[in-house]
């Protein structure tokens, strides 16, 4: 072992500097004193110290990875450059690397790990709810588990598809060799990883009692663990905003010749629609969390009713971010669905323009609906009809996506591969999610369903049933391209069927249980709901088990079995499948020229069994 290699910019340095930075910040925070923050001494709750510790720790970690080097060199007047460590080898996955494909892989594994943690929390929640009154965890731990589950999922899954798959495939799909800002691309990933670790450290500071919504004034009252939540979400917001910026800039500027807007693959359109929301909504979240942090440290009164502030302000600001956020979660799934259906129905996408309109429409409308989260809160009661209308209007563009999916299946030649199964399951799950959403959008119905397990089951149908199913669809569809190794089909199908059945067996009953009067986030519940909850818990454990099937299959297929796939195992006509698996570092030997529609199925000579892409031509000679 060459110990010299441990020196320099790598993960080890990053951890060391991160930990050192943490304690430097912690020490620094304790140097502040003043009359308004005198209570620190009494309670040991030094929020300033913890904020500074996280901040300096973050800077230390990123510097250790090498992120500080470029800004400092620019400060000294060195000219700009694009790439860092775009080499081969396994080491590039563990450090700052600006190859968009490496970042995609990093996202896949990194986000996967945190989703696994979030999923384990869900298992603990269901374990607690096996009994209506008996407590396995105490009340505080239960709330922390609930908060960790919700926050981890909502924070990490925002980049769940864009992170791994858009980073990897978006440049390829538009015929580019890189993202517009490769260094920012790498930064978004590492910010997210640091954020995830910071969120988990909340356990050491007493956890946080607010769930993922972090409502004021409870967030002001909470212990230091709340600071972890604040820093986590602010970093996730920053990561999201930069990711969105990078995606839009890439699509606008990096498209290959011939890749007109009307020829973008539909997945790229869904990424655009999502990115607009990410770019613009996340800053609202960051500002809001800044206000919360000021309330907790400098004793300002943004959300404190006694000091002239208002908890309503937090609810408004949070949901101005929060509703776009849930479409940030939903839209990429729609893109995956419509990207996969043509391949396995062997038909062009039906209603391309309608699908694009639907996605952009959802993106726009999602800004106008936020107060439907506040129908019974007493805010602007006279505006409820407007928010009811605007919320229900979202079902129109969502309906576009459905009709396009159904139209694509029309007279297709459907192959029931694992990704196709997940895509079809998306349709079923999202249908139920959408229909249950109509109850929540209707004010009289919402009176009972609001804040109950019904709404919880509703958004699990859209997020887990929609996003996570499309996430798995994308994994089964694209990971063979990313690694060059097949994922075992038989175990994939076992995974699909156990997951699909267990998922519906978990959240279907939860819709009913919620309607029957079970509030969210409560550690106890009424005795008459015991049977239903037991059923749900057991189903949830099967759901967790299905994830183990996946993890086992994934690790076995990708690490041990390693059955190589060819360039185009699905016989797809999209451009990413015309490249070798895995894609070479430089993507294209020569930048291609696009000639037509991205889904040229059935356009051929009538025999129609060709898999060759007639629309992509490489220019005759390399660019001078």
């Amino acid at each position: 072992m060459n110990f010299r290699r441990l020196l320099g910019y790598n993960l080890l340095t990053a951890f060391v500097l991160g930990i050192v930075g943490f304690y430097v910040g912690w020490w620094l925070g304790h140097q502040f004193s003043g009359p308004s923050i005198a209570y620190f001494a009494d309670t040991g709750q030094n929020d300033i110290a913890l904020f500074l510790a996280y901040l300096v720790g973050l800077i230390g970690f990123l510097s250790g990875l090498g992120f500080a080097s470029y800004p400092i060199q620019r400060l000294l007047g060195k000219p700009p450059s694009l790439r860092e460590k775009e080499t081969a080898g396994t080491g590039r996955y563990f450090t700052l690397c600006t190859d968009h494909k490496v970042v995609g892989m990093q996202y896949l594994i990194g986000i996967g790990a945190f989703i696994f943690v979030g999923g384990l929390n869900a298992m603990l929640i269901r374990f607690e709810l096996l009994s209506p009154t008996k407590q396995t965890f105490n009340a505080n731990n239960y709330l922390t588990i609930v908060g960790l589950h919700g926050t981890m999922m909502m924070g990490m899954m925002t980049s769940g598809i864009l992170g791994p798959f858009a980073n990897y495939f978006l440049p390829i799909m538009i015929g580019a060799r890189r993202m517009a800002f490769p260094r920012i691309e790498a930064l978004t990933f590492w910010l997210l990883m640091v954020a995830g670790v910071i969120l988990m450290t909340t356990v050491g500071y007493g956890g946080f009692p607010t769930g993922w919504t972090g409502y004021a004034p409870l967030n002001d009252q909470a212990n230091m663990g709340m600071d972890s939540y604040i820093v986590f979400f602010a970093l996730v917001g920053l990561s999201m905003s930069l990711l969105g910026l990078n995606m839009i800039a890439t699509v606008v500027t990096m498209r290959a010749p011939g890749m007109a807007w009307g020829r973008l693959p539909i997945f790229v359109w869904s990424v655009i629609a999502t990115s607009v929301l990410m770019l613009l909504a996340a800053p609202v979240l960051i500002s809001t969390l800044l206000m919360v942090a000021l309330d907790r440290t400098a004793q300002t009164g943004f959300f404190n009713a006694q000091a002239g502030g208002s908890p309503y302000l937090y609810q408004n600001l949070f949901w101005i971010f929060g509703h776009p956020e849930v479409y940030i979660l939903a839209l990429p799934g729609m893109g995956i669905l419509l990207e996969i259906l043509p391949v396995f129905a062997r038909k062009p996408l039906w209603g391309y323009r309608l699908a694009v309109t639907g996605m952009l429409g959802i993106s726009l409308l999602s800004w106008l609906v936020w107060q439907h989260h506040l129908f019974v809160s007493g805010i602007n009661a006279d505006l409820r009809p407007f928010y009811m209308l605007s919320t229900e209007l979202i079902s129109l563009p969502t309906g576009f996506i459905f009709i396009c999916a159904l139209g694509t299946l029309w007279q297709g030649r459907i192959r029931f591969t694992v990704p196709m199964l997940f895509a079809l399951a998306w349709l079923f799950n999202f249908l139920i999610g959408g229909l249950s959403g109509v109850f929540l959008s209707d004010v009289p119905s919402d009176v009972t369903t609001h804040g109950s397990f019904f709404s919880m089951a509703h958004f699990h149908y859209t997020i887990m049933g929609g996003l996570l199913f499309s996430f798995f669809a994308a994994i089964y569809f694209w990971v063979p391209k990313m690694t060059g190794y097949a994922i075992n089909e038989r175990f994939g199908k076992i995974h699909f069927w156990t997951m699909f059945i267990a998922f519906n067996s978990t959240f279907g009953p939860l819709l009913v249980i919620g309607f029957l009067g079970m509030p969210r986030r409560a550690v106890t519940y009424a005795g008459y709901l015991h049977g239903g909850n037991t059923w749900v818990s057991i189903s949830a454990f099967f759901l967790g088990g299905s994830m183990l099937v996946f993890v086992g299959n994934f690790v076995w297929s990708q690490v041990f079995a390693r059955v190589p796939v060819g360039a185009n195992p699905w016989a797809s006509k999209s451009i990413e499948w015309q490249l070798p698996s895995p894609v070479p570092v430089h993507n294209f030997d020569r930048i291609p020229t696009f000639g037509a529609d991205p889904y040229p199925y059935g356009d051929g000579d009538g025999a129609g069994d060709s898999t060759a892409p007639r629309v992509v031509t490489a220019p005759a000679r390399p660019r001078p």
Partner: protein, 277 residues
């Protein structure tokens, strides 16, 4: 009309499926939808739920029938997996039809929901300090005060008496005034079909009229900290005579402590917040 081709068969499946499901929804599922028929607000919610289900049914049946049909009829034949399907890139009439039908449904739902909201005096939901959907005629105001982690109740027309349990007379229009002393809670009386957030410094009004006597559950429906899960209670709807007896007894108990409590007010400003839990 002769049904032929894929479209005809899917249409037939949809029509038949709707014809089977719709009566079940209207006559079996609908009337038994939560939260039941014990108050005016709850009844109007049940109506709403039924109407929503009725509107959704044809769409749901169509999509599921289409999916099921597609899975069986459009599966690739053995050996033809890689044959391309027909290059259909859209069909304007069906796109327009879909847009028109879904728009009509959405507009109907929004108008119906609004009408129902006003007709039912807010259907038991919190409407803020100045409710716009409110009943005419006399009301019995009842204040609900949320604090970590219990609800207490005050009856301003009975001398502001404060009670630990909620008792309501049947067949009288109740006007809940929901407020909080600390963080946000949500007053959820499930069987009454009432839910209103309790915000510090805010008077959140909700209307309901119980039409049957009996017990109902009260739960906090907004995460409010450590013992949120234990913030529940049982309330009672009783007839007028029982209510009068009960409230008289409460007032008798209340008189000695009256001077220690703040006067009745729509909101209260407690001591500056302290960190708890």
């Amino acid at each position: 009309m002769r049904l032929q081709g894929h479209a005809g068969r899917i249409a037939a499946l949809t029509v038949v499926g709707t014809a089977i499901v719709l009566p079940l929804v209207i006559f079996v599922l609908g009337p038994n939808m939560p939260p039941g028929h014990r108050t005016t607000g709850a009844s109007s919610q049940v109506n709403d739920n039924t109407v929503l289900l009725v509107v959704m049914t044809p769409f749901t049946v169509f999509i599921l029938a289409y999916l099921a049909y597609a899975i069986f009829a459009f599966r690739a034949a053995a050996g033809e997996e890689l044959r391309d399907g027909p290059p259909i890139r859209g069909h304007m009439p069906s796109q327009i039809a879909w847009l028109v039908v879904t728009s009509a449904a959405v507009l109907f739902l929004a108008i119906f929901g609004t009408a129902e909201l006003f007709a039912s005096n807010g259907a038991g939901g919190g409407e803020g300090p100045k409710p716009i959907a409110k009943p005419s005629g006399p009301v019995l105001p009842v204040q609900v005060i949320g604090q970590q982690w219990e609800f207490t109740f005050r009856y301003p027309t009975y001398g502001g008496v404060e009670t630990a349990e909620l008792v309501l007379p049947v067949n009288r229009q109740i006007e809940f005034h929901v407020t909080s002393l600390d963080v946000i809670h949500s007053f959820w009386a499930y069987e009454l079909g009432v839910k209103a957030d309790a915000n510090p410094g805010v008077d959140n009004v909700a209307y309901v009229k119980a039409t049957k006597t009996g017990d109902f559950q009260i739960r906090c429906a907004e995460l409010c900290g450590l013992w949120h899960g234990y913030m529940f209670d049982t309330g009672h709807v009783v007839d007028a005579a029982q209510f009068d007896t009960w409230i008289a007894g409460e007032r008798k108990q209340f008189t000695p402590v009256e001077k220690y409590l703040p006067r009745y007010s729509v909101t209260y400003s407690p001591d500056p917040q302290v960190r708890a839990g």
